[in-house]
Homo-oligomer: 332 residues x 2
C-alpha cells in the first residue's frame, strides 16, 4: 500500500535476477541516494504509480557484473548508472544496456547522484538559444542540488551565474563553489544586481521556487529573456510582472525532465556532466550513509533534512553472484 | 504641461498645413475617437512624451484632400486612416502616403476605430503557429474593443472563441455578436468549459486582465498552448499555475502593438480587418460624438465611461482648403 515510507516499506529477500538476455547487463548496485521524489512516490502523491509490491528508488550507481549477447560498449567491472526508474534500492538488477556508459573514476557516492540533478541543470541551460559565453544566467533555489550543478555546468560553459538564496549564510558557501554573484532574495535585490553587473546580458532565468520568486528572476532578465520554471518549492502560483512580458518580451515556459522531448537529451547531458562530478566541480554534501537494512532510519533522516545515501554493497561479491539472496527495499 | 486632460487641453487655431511634398498627402480629418491611451498620454503617464505644445489623438479617419508627387496608390477623395500617432484631433494634417490605403465604404465612425484594436486582435491571433480551423481561442476582457474584434476575426478565420466576461448580462450580448462560448469568470468556470467543449483543442489564450484571470486562461489551454498577455486591466501581476507550465508546457509571452517586430505586421492586419468593419462584423457601440470645440465635455464623458468620438468635419470643405484657420486640440 502507498503511505508513509517509514511505515509501508519492508526489506524483502528476493531471488537473484536471471542472467542478462541479449542487449542487457546485470548490475550490482553500490550506492543509491534517497530523494524526496522517492518518498513522494511511496506516499502515492503522483498519479503514476508502480503496481505493488514494487522495489523503489530512482537513482544509483553500480558495477556491471555480467553482460548479455550483443553488448559491446560495456565490459564486466565498468561502473554505470542504474537507469532512472529501474528501482535502485536493491543489490542487483538486470537492465537494458542501451544508454549506459562507463563512468569516469570518481567517488561513487557522488556519481550515484548524477542521474537527475546534473542533467536537469544542463538541459535547463539549453532552454535558451540565445546564450553566449560571458552571459549571465539567473537562478533561485541556488543551494539545491540542481542549483549547485547549474553553477558548475554554467562555469564549464563560460557562463556566469547570478544566484538567489534565502539565507545569508549560504552566500559565502555558494561563492566558494563558484557562484559568480550570490544574493539574498529580498527587497532591493534587483537594483543591487544591476548596480553590480551593469547592463550585462541576462538572457536566461531558472526558477525552482515559483510564487514571487519567479517575478524576481523575470525582473533581472534582459529584453527577450527566457524564464524557465522547473519546480515550485514555494507551492505558490508563478507570478510575473505583466510589463516584463509585454514591454520586455520575456517568455515564460516550464521544464520537466521526464517529458518525452526532454528525455531524449538526457544521455548527452549525462556525458557532459559526469566529468564535472569526477573533477569535484559538481559535489553534493552527503549527510549520512545507511545500509539497506537501516532503511527506516535512512528515511527518517531524509525527512529531517540532508542528503542520505544507501550503501548497497551489491557488487562486492563481484563475479560471485550465483545463488546469493538479494535483499531489496520495496513498497508492499 | 502634462496633467488632467479637462484642465491642460486647449483649443488652438493653427495655420493651414503646407501643401503635401513628394510622397505625402493632405488629409482632412472626419472623425477621431478618444481612447483611454490618449488621456494617459496627456496625463504624462508614459515615459515617451511629445514635446509641448503638441496636438494629440492617436486614431482617426479622413479624406485625402491633396496628393504630393509620386503618390499613385491614392487619389483625392479616398477615405484613409490617419496614421497612428500622427495626432488626429485636428482638422487637417499632412502625412506620409506609404502604408495608407483607400478604405472600403462603411460608417466612417466605425472605420475611425480601425487603427489599433482590430489589428491588435488580428496579430494576437497570429501569436500561435499551431492554430487550425475549428480550434478554440480563449480570451478574457471579451467585452473590450480588442475582445469584440477578436471574436469577429476568429470567426472569419474559422476559429471558435471561448470568452470570459465579468458580468452575467454580457453573456447574451457577446453571444449575439458571435462569441461561440461566453462564460462568467468565476470558480468552476474551467470545469464547465471542458464539460461543454470536451477535449477540443484550445492552443491559444489571450489575456488582457493579468492577475488570476491569466491563470484561468492557462487552465483551459491544451497541452503546449500559448498564453499571450497584452494588457493588465486588473493591475495585478500575471499568475499561472506552475504545473500548467511544467506538465502542460504552456508558454507565456507578451504582446505590444508598437514593438518594432510587431509594427511591421500592422498594414496587413489592417487590410484583413477593414472589410470586417465594413461588413459590421466588427462594430464598437458609440456612446456619443462631440465637435472638437466641446473637447472638455468629450473627455469628461470618456472618463465616465463609454466610447466617445470627435466629429471633426475637417474634410467638409473639400478642395476649398486655402487660408482656412484649422482649430486643433493640443496639450500646451
Amino acid at each position: 500500500t502507498f503511505g508513509e515510507p517509514g511505515i509501508v516499506l519492508e526489506l524483502a529477500d528476493l531471488p537473484e535476477p536471471p542472467a542478462p538476455a541479449a542487449g542487457e547487463v546485470l548490475i550490482g548496485v553500490e550506492h543509491a541516494p534517497i530523494n524526496m521524489n522517492d518518498l513522494y512516490l511511496i506516499q502515492g502523491v503522483y498519479p503514476l504509480r508502480p503496481s505493488l509490491p514494487s522495489v523503489v528508488g530512482n537513482e544509483g550507481v553500480g558495477r556491471v557484473l555480467a553482460i548479455g549477447r550483443g553488448v559491446d560498449h560495456l565490459k564486466v567491472g565498468d561502473r554505470v548508472l542504474v537507469p532512472l526508474y529501474s528501482f535502485s534500492w536493491r543489490e542487483r538488477l538486470v537492465a537494458p544496456a542501451a544508454g549506459l556508459f562507463a563512468l569516469p573514476e570518481a567517488d561513487p557516492r557522488q556519481l550515484a547522484m548524477l542521474g537527475i540533478n546534473p542533467p536537469t541543470a544542463a538541459l535547463l541551460l539549453n532552454e535558451s538559444i540565445d546564450l553566449r559565453p560571458g552571459d549571465w544566467v539567473a537562478q533561485n533555489a541556488a543551494n539545491s542540488a540542481v542549483g549547485r550543478s547549474l553553477i558548475a555546468i554554467a562555469k564549464a560553459r563560460g557562463l556566469k551565474t547570478l544566484n538567489f538564496v534565502r539565507r545569508l549564510e549560504l552566500v559565502p558557501e555558494l561563492q566558494a563553489v563558484g557562484g559568480d554573484l550570490v544574493i539574498v532574495d529580498q527587497s532591493g535585490a534587483v537594483d543591487k544586481i544591476r548596480a553590480t553587473i551593469g547592463d550585462a546580458r541576462v538572457p536566461l532565468g531558472i526558477d525552482g521556487v515559483a510564487g514571487k520568486a519567479a517575478a524576481t528572476i523575470a525582473g533581472v532578465l534582459s529584453h527577450s529573456g527566457t524564464l524557465v520554471v522547473y519546480a515550485l518549492m514555494s507551492g505558490e502560483p508563478v507570478t510575473v510582472a505583466p510589463l516584463d512580458l509585454i514591454a520586455k518580451r520575456v517568455v515564460v515556459k516550464g521544464f520537466f525532465l521526464n517529458h518525452p522531448d526532454v528525455e531524449l537529451k538526457i544521455p548527452s547531458a549525462l556525458r557532459e556532466t559526469a566529468p564535472l562530478v569526477a573533477s569535484g566541480a559538481i559535489r553534493v554534501p552527503i549527510a549520512a550513509t545507511y545500509p539497506l537494512t537501516a532503511f527506516r532510519e535512512a528515511v527518517a533522516h531524509v525527512q529531517r533534512g540532508g542528503k542520505v545515501m544507501f550503501d548497497v554493497d551489491g557488487a562486492s561479491e563481484l563475479f560471485d553472484k550465483v545463488a546469493v539472496e538479494a535483499p531489496q527495499v520495496q513498497a508492499p
